[in-house]
C-alpha cells in the first residue's frame, strides 16, 4: 500500500510538471462556447452553436508549430502547409427560408461550400487549391475531391476577407460549391473531434446526430481567420470558429406542441461546461417577450444581456454554465420554453431563383431580389457561378426593377470553357426601396459525352446557389469597435460603419435536366445491326457460292443386293 501511494503521488507530480511546462511554453490559447436559441414565429425553433478557439501563434514562421493544445492539430497543419490565410467551409442540409425564419446569424448555401484566401507569398495557387480540397475531403469525410477547375471560380469583388489583412488581391481567392453534397453523421463525427472537449463535456454533449438530422435545416461550418488580439490591433491571433445551426420543425420534432426543451430538441440535458472553456453561455432571445406574455422560460435566470445583431438591438436571457448555480439541485440543466413567439419583422433583403422555360434545349434563369425597406435603397453584389453545360447567352441579360431597366454599376463576366471553367457573373445592382428586382438570363443546354453522366442521370444536374452580398441599413447603430468583448454570434461579420450591416443571402440551388441519351441504345443497335448483317450477308453468300449437283436417289434394298452380286460377277450395275 505504501508503494502504491508513492507511485500515485509520483504519477500526479509528473502530470502536473508536464502541464506546467506546456502552459508556460507556448502562446496562450482560449476557448469559448455558446448556444443561442431563438423561437421563431412559425412555432419552429432556431438553435445556433458556436465554438471559438483563439490562439496567439504564427503558422507562417519557419519553425513549425510543434505543440497543440486547444487548437486542433489537423487544421493547424493544413494552415501552415498550404499557406492559408482564411478558410471557410460549410456543410448544409436543407434550405434557409428567410421569409419564415428571418435572417440567420451565419448564412450558408445548401450542400458544401468552400472558400479560401491564400497568403500572398504563394506562387501556385491552383495546385495548392487542388491539394487542399483533397486533404479537407479526408478530414471531413466529404467528397470535396470533386472540386476542380470546372466548379471553382475566382470572384472579383465578392467574398472579401473576413479577418484582418491589408491585401485584397483576388488572385489569391478561390470559391467552390458542391450543391449536391450530402451531410450526415459521417461529417459530424470529425467535426466534433476538432473540439477541445470533443462531445464529452460542455455544449457539444447536445450534438446527437439522430436528433440533429431530423430537422428542417442543419448546417455545420468551420471558419478560420486571423483576428485582432486587442484594441490596438498590432498583433494577430488565429481564430477557429465551429458553428452549427439547426432549425427544429414544430411538427416533426415538436409533435405539434408549442413547448420546447433541451431534452426534446437534443435528447440530452447539460450537466457541466467544458472544463477548458473560459466562457460557456446559453442565450435565449426574449426581445419580444419582455414581460413574459409570449412564452415562458424555465428555469428562470436573473442574467440579461443586450446585443446588437443583424441591425437590431435584441435582449437575451443568459445562462452561465461555468456557474454551478445554473444547474440547480438536480445538477442538470433542461431549459423549457413554453409558448409562441410573436410576429417577426419582415427581413429587409431576401431572394429567390428559379428556372423558366420548357423542353430540354433552352431555358431561362430568373433571380428575384426583394428590397423591403420603405424608403432606403442599398447596393447588392450578385455572384452567379453557372456550370459550363448550361451555355449562357449574356446578351439576353436583363435587370429590371419596378418595370424599368436598372443598369448595374459594375459587371464582371468570365465566360466558361467547355470542361474547364464555369461561367462567372458578378454584378453590383442598386435596389430601389420597396421593390422587386428581376435578373433574367437565357441559356441553352449542352449534350454531354456519355462517360460524363452520373450513374443516376435522371436526377438532374445542380446549379449552385447565387450569393447576394449587401450592406443593409440597420435599425440601430452598429458597434464598429470590432475587438471589444461581444457575444460570438454578433461578432462574426466585422462592421465598418454604424448605419448598415453586412449580410449575405443565398438563393436556392437549381436542378436542371440535361438531354439524357437512352443508355440501352448501344446494346439495341448492336443486336439489330448484327442480325441484319447476318441475315443479309448470309443470304448473299449462299446465293453466290452455292452450286447445285444432281444426286441419284438411292435404290431399294433388292436392287442394291443385285448390284453387289453383279459387281462380283463383273457385270455393269442396273
Amino acid at each position: 500500500a505504501m508503494a502504491e501511494q508513492k507511485f500515485r503521488v509520483r504519477a500526479r507530480a509528473l502530470v502536473c510538471v508536464f502541464v506546467c511546462v506546456v502552459m508556460c511554453g507556448c502562446g496562450r490559447d482560449d476557448f469559448q462556447e455558446e448556444l443561442v436559441i431563438r423561437p421563431l414565429h412559425s412555432g419552429d425553433i432556431y438553435t445556433s452553436f458556436q465554438f471559438r478557439t483563439l490562439w496567439e501563434t504564427d503558422f507562417t514562421r519557419e519553425n513549425k508549430v510543434s505543440h497543440y493544445r486547444l487548437f486542433p492539430k489537423s487544421l493547424g497543419q493544413v494552415i501552415s502547409k498550404f499557406s492559408v490565410r482564411e478558410l471557410h467551409i460549410s456543410f448544409t442540409q436543407g434550405y434557409w427560408r428567410t421569409m419564415q425564419w428571418g435572417q440567420p446569424y451565419l448564412p450558408s448555401p445548401p450542400g458544401a461550400e468552400l472558400w479560401v484566401w491564400f497568403q500572398d507569398s504563394l506562387t501556385d495557387v491552383d495546385g495548392t487549391w487542388k491539394e487542399l480540397t483533397n486533404v479537407l475531403s479526408g478530414i471531413f469525410c466529404a467528397s470535396l475531391n470533386f472540386i476542380d477547375s470546372t466548379n471553382t471560380v475566382q470572384p472579383s469583388a465578392s467574398f472579401k476577407p473576413l479577418g484582418i489583412g491589408n491585401v485584397t488581391d483576388h488572385r489569391f481567392l478561390r470559391y467552390a460549391t458542391l450543391p449536391r453534397e450530402i451531410v450526415c453523421t459521417e461529417n459530424l463525427t470529425p467535426w466534433k473531434k476538432l473540439l477541445p472537449c470533443g462531445s464529452k463535456a460542455g455544449l457539444a454533449v447536445l450534438l446527437k446526430s439522430e436528433k440533429l438530422f431530423h430537422s428542417s435545416f442543419h448546417s455545420q461550418a468551420v471558419h478560420i481567420r486571423p483576428v485582432c488580439k486587442d484594441d490596438q490591433c498590432k498583433t494577430t491571433s488565429w481564430e477557429l470558429r465551429q458553428t452549427l445551426n439547426v432549425v427544429f420543425d414544430l411538427h416533426n420534432s415538436g409533435q405539434g406542441k408549442n413547448e420546447w426543451s433541451l431534452f426534446k430538441m437534443f435528447s440530452r440535458t447539460l450537466t457541466e461546461a467544458c472544463p477548458v472553456a473560459s466562457s460557456s453561455k446559453i442565450y435565449i432571445d426574449i426581445t419580444d417577450n419582455s414581460q413574459g406574455e409570449q412564452f415562458e422560460l424555465s428555469p428562470a435566470t436573473p442574467l440579461l444581456s443586450q446585443a446588437v445583431v443583424l441591425g437590431d438591438r435584441r435582449t437575451f436571457s443568459v445562462y452561465d454554465l461555468t456557474q454551478q448555480i445554473t444547474f440547480g439541485t438536480m445538477r442538470s440543466l433542461n431549459l423549457l420554453i413554453r409558448g409562441k413567439s410573436s410576429d417577426m419583422l419582415r427581413p429587409l433583403l431576401h431572394a429567390e431563383r428559379y428556372v423558366a422555360g420548357y423542353g430540354l434545349q433552352t431555358g431561362e434563369i430568373h433571380t428575384l431580389m426583394y428590397n423591403n425597406h420603405p424608403y432606403r435603397s442599398f447596393p447588392v453584389l450578385l455572384l452567379d457561378s453557372v456550370p459550363w453545360y448550361l451555355r449562357l447567352y449574356i446578351h439576353t441579360l436583363t435587370v429590371t426593377s419596378k418595370g424599368k431597366d436598372n443598369k448595374p454599376s459594375y459587371i464582371h463576366y468570365q465566360p466558361s470553357k467547355d470542361r474547364v471553367r464555369p461561367h462567372l457573373l458578378e454584378m453590383l445592382v442598386q435596389l430601389p426601396p420597396n421593390s422587386v428586382t428581376e435578373v433574367t438570363l437565357q441559356f441553352e443546354r449542352a449534350l454531354l459525352k456519355w462517360t460524363e453522366y452520373t450513374p443516376d442521370p435522371n436526377h438532374g444536374f445542380y446549379v449552385g446557389s447565387s450569393v447576394i452580398s449587401s450592406l443593409v441599413p440597420s435599425i440601430v447603430a452598429m458597434d464598429t469597435n470590432n475587438s471589444r468583448e461581444r457575444p460570438l454570434f454578433s461578432s462574426f461579420f466585422p462592421s465598418k460603419e454604424e448605419s448598415s450591416y453586412f449580410v449575405r443571402v443565398y438563393t436556392e440551388p437549381l436542378l436542371v435536366n440535361l438531354p439524357t441519351p437512352d443508355f440501352s441504345m448501344p446494346y439495341n443497335v448492336i443486336c439489330l445491326t448484327c442480325t441484319v448483317v447476318a441475315v443479309g450477308y448470309g443470304s448473299l453468300y449462299n446465293l453466290l457460292t452455292r452450286s447445285f449437283q444432281i444426286e441419284e436417289p438411292s435404290p431399294g434394298l433388292a436392287k442394291r443386293i443385285a448390284n453387289i452380286i453383279r459387281k462380283m460377277r463383273g457385270v455393269p450395275p442396273l
Partner: protein, 392 residues
C-alpha cells in the same frame, strides 16, 4: 494498450503475486524475462496489424440492405478493435440521411428498428460517386494520387491481415458498381496478385455477399487468400426481412446471420474459421454459402476469427529511455508598426472603379498560329519567294 497496462500494474506489485505466472524462484526477480516468454505465446500468429476494406456497391433507396450489410460488418469490426484509421469504408449511396428515410441518421438491420448499425461515430471514407471500380482497385494496389489523404489509403504492409467485404448486385464472374460499371473476377484476382507481389498483405480474408458470389473467388491464384461467398454459381442470394415502416428489405440473409454470429464474438474469444464456414446453412440462407481455403497456408481450424475481425496490438517491451524534445517556444513576434484593420466587406466605390484584372499572357493557341501560317503561305505563293529579301 491493454497488455501494457497489465504489465505496468504487475511490475509495480510483483511481490503480491508469487508464482502467479509460473515464474520460478530466480525468475521472480527478473520478472521481465519471464513475462517476455509468456508474452511470446500470446502473439503466435504472423500478423502485427489489421485492416479492413468494406465496400457497398449499390445505389438507390431499394438497395438499403446492401448499405446495412456493410455497416453491420463495419460495426462488428470496430467493436472488436480495429480503429477507424485502419478501416476503409466505401458506401455508394447515402441511406441514413436520404429523404426517404423515416428515421434520419439511422440504418437499421433488424426489423422493428432494434439495432441501429449506423451509430453515432461512423466515418465513411468513400461515398457516393467516389465508389468506382477504379478507386477500389487503386486502394487495393496502393496506386493513389499523391494528394490522397491518409484516411482514404490502405497503408498495409507485409504483416497486415486484411479483411475485404463486398456486397451488392453481382452475377457469374462480375460485381456491378453503381449501375454503370462492373468488376470482373479476373481483375480482382490480378489485383490481389499485385498486392502479393508488393507485399501488401500477410493474410487476406475475402467475403462477398451477392448473387452467384462464388464465381468471384474462382480465379484467385495468390497465396494466403481465404474466401467466403454467400451463394454458389447459379444461385441467388436472398434478402432477409422487410420492415414495414421503412418499406424496404433491411438485410441480406447471409450477412444477417453473419452479424448474429459476430455479435457473440468478443476480443478474447477463441472461435476459429471452421465456425465461420458453418454460418448460414442452406436451411436458413436458401442459397448454399461457399468457401475456398486451398490457397491458405495455415489450417482454417487454427485461424481465429479475431485474426481478421479484431485488432492485434503487438506490445514490444523495451528498456530504452526516450528523450522528449522541449516544445518550440513561441517567440513574441516583432511588434508590427502599422495597425491591422478588417477589410471592408462591400466597398462600393472601389468596386465600381475597379481596374480590369490583368490577364496572364498565354502563348497563341493553334488556331491563331494556323491562321497566320495560312496567310503567310498564300502571300509568298502569290508574290514569290524572291520578295523575301525586300521585306527582311
Amino acid at each position: 494498450m491493454y497488455f501494457l497496462l497489465v504489465y505496468m500494474y504487475i511490475k509495480n506489485h510483483v511481490y503480491m503475486f508469487p508464482d502467479l505466472l509460473g515464474c520460478h524462484g530466480k525468475c521472480r526477480r527478473y520478472l521481465f524475462c519471464c513475462f517476455q516468454d509468456r508474452a511470446g505465446q500470446f502473439f503466435s500468429s504472423g500478423h502485427t496489424n489489421n485492416w479492413a476494406v468494406l465496400v457497398c456497391t449499390s445505389r438507390f433507396w431499394f438497395n438499403y440492405r446492401h448499405v446495412a450489410n456493410t455497416l453491420s460488418v463495419y460495426r462488428s469490426v470496430k467493436r472488436l478493435g480495429i480503429p477507424d484509421s485502419h478501416i476503409v469504408l466505401m458506401l455508394a449511396d447515402d441511406m441514413a440521411c436520404n429523404h426517404r428515410n423515416p428515421k434520419p441518421a439511422t440504418v437499421f438491420s433488424h426489423k422493428n428498428m432494434e439495432l441501429n448499425v449506423y451509430g453515432d461515430d461512423v466515418e465513411v471514407d468513400y461515398r457516393g460517386y467516389e465508389v468506382t471500380v477504379e478507386n477500389f482497385l487503386r486502394i487495393l494496389t496502393g496506386r493513389l494520387p499523391p494528394s490522397t489523404p491518409r484516411s482514404k489509403r490502405l497503408l498495409s504492409d507485409d504483416r497486415s491481415n486484411i479483411l475485404i467485404y463486398l456486397t451488392g448486385h453481382g452475377g457469374n464472374g462480375f460485381l456491378k458498381f453503381q449501375d454503370s460499371e462492373e468488376i470482373s473476377n479476373v481483375e480482382l484476382a490480378d489485383a490481389f496478385e499485385q498486392m502479393w507481389q508488393k507485399r501488401r498483405y500477410n493474410e487476406l480474408l475475402f467475403i462477398i455477399d451477392t448473387c452467384q458470389g462464388a464465381s468471384m473467388y474462382e480465379r484467385f491464384y495468390s497465396p494466403n487468400l481465404m474466401a467466403l461467398a454467400s451463394s454458389q454459381v447459379g444461385e441467388d442470394s436472398l434478402s432477409h426481412q422487410p420492415d414495414l415502416a421503412i418499406g424496404v428489405h433491411l438485410m441480406d440473409r447471409y450477412t444477417f446471420y453473419l452479424l448474429e454470429f459476430l455479435e457473440d464474438i468478443h476480443p478474447a474469444s477463441k472461435t476459429n474459421m471452421n465456425d465461420l464456414f458453418k454460418v448460414c446453412p442452406k436451411s436458413q440462407c436458401v442459397s448454399t454459402p461457399g468457401h475456398r481455403t486451398d490457397l491458405f497456408l495455415r489450417d482454417p481450424g487454427s485461424v481465429l476469427i479475431t485474426d481478421f475481425f479484431g485488432s492485434v496490438r503487438k506490445v514490444e517491451l523495451t528498456m530504452e529511455t526516450i528523450n522528449l524534445t522541449d516544445p518550440i517556444d513561441a517567440e513574441s513576434g516583432e511588434l508590427q508598426k502599422e495597425m491591422h484593420t478588417y477589410a471592408d466587406q462591400l466597398p462600393v466605390s472601389e468596386i465600381i472603379h475597379q481596374k480590369p484584372k490583368q490577364k496572364d499572357w498565354h502563348p497563341p493557341d493553334g488556331f491563331i498560329l494556323g491562321l497566320w501560317t495560312l496567310i503567310l503561305l498564300v502571300f509568298f505563293q502569290t508574290y514569290g519567294v524572291k520578295h523575301l529579301k525586300h521585306i527582311f
